[in-house]
């Protein structure tokens, strides 16, 4: 594909914001 979001853009768009949800899920499950 000629035009796409770069890896760096995807990375910074996805990783930090998803990480907080995953971390919250882990704390939630650990408390169960």
């Amino acid at each position: 594909m000629e035009h796409a979001l770069s890896f760096a853009t995807w990375f910074w768009l996805i990783v930090p914001m998803s990480a907080v949800v995953v971390l919250s899920l882990v704390t939630y499950l650990m408390g169960k």
């Binding site: 594909m1 000629e2 035009h3 796409a4 979001l5 770069s6 760096a8 853009t9 910074w12 768009l13 930090p16 914001m17 998803s18 907080v20 949800v21 971390l23 919250s24 899920l25 704390t27 939630y28 650990m30 408390g31």
Partner: protein
């Protein structure tokens, strides 16, 4: 553009729904703790969405999609910073504050907590924090009203004054009647509406653009730089945008949701719901603005901030568009009502009860609370009648000011036994002054968002002044130990 009948009907149903919630909460409000903190009986879902909806103003549906539409992916950094800040607030402040406010003689407001935490009989700490809250939130409330009324004026040709009064009367009514419970329950419904809107609109736009690949290709055709998260960004600029996240620890209208939670053990559930809501809502706003670039490639919008509302009108039938419109209004109202109530609680608990009538009955205090809601709202409406008024410019100090003046003080008070009252006062003053002075200077490091230097200097001041002053008395230290013990039970 005028409001169609289905849109108007949906919209009126929404407003009536808010009033019904206000009345239901009225029946459960007996004392001041009920009125300003819901008697600490929020479930995790309501606490989480209420914290999120109070935090996210019209910026979420207007400002952020508008910024993405105008500049592209490099506007994502502020969302990243806010998400991390909100998470750290849930992780490190929420449960501790919930527990400590109860241990510290059942504090029901932030100034109340600070006074009780340090056993400050001089009332200086309470007064400084209450004045700051009252001042900035009155302007904040007013500025939110301006945003709402302007939206209706520009989008539907409604008279500015009419829009202002209709919105204000609905918000005043349910906040007046039901206090904190009404504000939190309406926030919950408003948060759900915002969430649904921010899921539906981006999906519909990407579909209308012909799928994700086509959306990206069309954005690239408009301007390939808008695909790049680093376009025109320096490390300095990224840090400055992400520093917005530091504001969370000191926002009274957000942290008070933690204090109102039913059980501190519900915190992990609330955190999970809150963070999931926030992240999906932010993605919705980001992709709405991004896909809007492709959708409006041929005929760009004159005002970028109308991207969400324009797409709602163009892509959905009028009934759904009415719901989406209610979602925008929800974002604005859920922030105004929370700030209004925090201001009212500062006047009632921190001035009236603390200074004027310490022995006032609970019934009297609830009615004083209701009276101050009307008083502050009327002042806010009067200021909002002139949308160009320069006093409203004070709002630009509010997020950074609260974040830098209260944030480090609240965090350190929850973690550091050796912290003193003088440390807290000095930290608050230095944090607030740094934000105000930093904003006056331009160029070089002074272009950095003022919350970062304010936050650091406030924290340093708290530590240095606390270490220089006499250690806290035994009663304060014992209370801290009792708090830690309760926390680990």
């Amino acid at each position: 553009m005028n409001m169609s009948t289905p849109t108007l009907v949906t919209f009126v149903v929404y407003l009536i729904g808010m009033l019904i919630i206000g009345f239901a909460a009225y029946r459960l409000t007996d004392n001041l703790s009920d009125y300003v903190l819901g008697g600490r009986r929020l479930g995790p879902g309501v606490a989480a969405l209420s914290a999120g909806a109070s935090d996210m103003s019209g910026w979420l549906l207007l400002g952020l999609p508008g910024a993405l539409y105008a500049s592209g992916m490099n506007q994502v950094w502020i969302a990243v910073g806010l998400t991390i800040g909100a998470y750290l607030n849930w992780q490190f402040v929420a449960r501790r504050l919930r527990v400590y406010t109860e241990v510290a003689r059942d504090a029901i407001t932030v100034p109340d907590y600070l006074e009780n935490r340090f056993h400050d009989s001089s009332k200086v700490l309470r007064m400084i924090s209450a004045v700051v809250i009252l001042l900035f939130f009155t302007f904040y409330t007013s500025s939110g009203m301006v945003a709402g009324a302007t939206l209706f004026e520009k989008s539907f040709g409604m008279d500015y004054g009419t829009a202002l009064w209709v919105g204000a009367i609905v918000i005043i009514s349910y906040t007046f009647l039901g206090g904190f419970l009404a504000v939190c329950w309406t926030d919950f419904v408003q948060g759900v509406l915002m969430f649904l809107a921010l899921l539906m609109v981006p999906i519909a736009v990407v579909a209308a653009d012909g799928g994700w690949s086509n959306t990206v290709a069309q954005v690239a055709a408009v301007d390939p730089a808008r695909l790049d998260i680093f376009h025109n960004m320096t490390l300095f600029g990224i840090v400055s945008l992400m520093a917005w996240g530091l504001g969370y620890f000191g926002q009274p209208h957000i942290v008070v949701r933690f204090m109102g939670l039913r059980r501190s053990s519900d915190m992990p559930t609330a955190k999970l719901i809150g963070m999931t809501w926030m992240v999906l809502a932010l993605y919705g706003a980001i992709f709405t603005g991004f896909a809007g670039i492709a959708y409006f490639a041929e005929q760009p919008l004159a005002n970028a901030e109308t991207v969400f509302i324009s797409l709602s009108q163009l892509l959905f039938n009028p009934w759904v568009a009415g719901v989406l419109l209610a979602a925008i209004l929800s974002a604005i109202m859920s922030t105004i009502d929370s700030q209004l109530l925090v201001s009212s609680s500062a006047l009632t608990e921190d001035f009236y009860k603390a200074m004027i009538r310490p022995k006032a009955s609970q019934k009297e205090l609830v009615w004083i609370g209701r009276g101050t809601v009307i008083l502050i709202a009327l002042i806010a409406v009067l200021m909002a009648r002139d949308p160009d008024s320069t006093v409203l410019g004070l709002v630009s100090y509010a997020w950074g000011g609260f974040g830098a003046a209260f944030g480090p003080v609240i965090i350190l008070s929850l973690f550091w036994k050796r912290m003193t009252r003088n440390g807290a006062i000095a930290g608050m003053v230095v944090g607030a002054l740094t934000v105000i002075l930093w904003k006056q200077v331009e160029g070089g490091m002074f272009d950095m968002y003022e919350i970062l230097p304010g936050f650091i200097l406030c924290a340093l001041t708290v530590v240095v002044v606390s270490l220089m002053s006499t250690p806290p008395i035994a009663a304060v230290q014992d209370e801290f130990d009792a708090f830690e013990k309760t926390l680990h039970q």
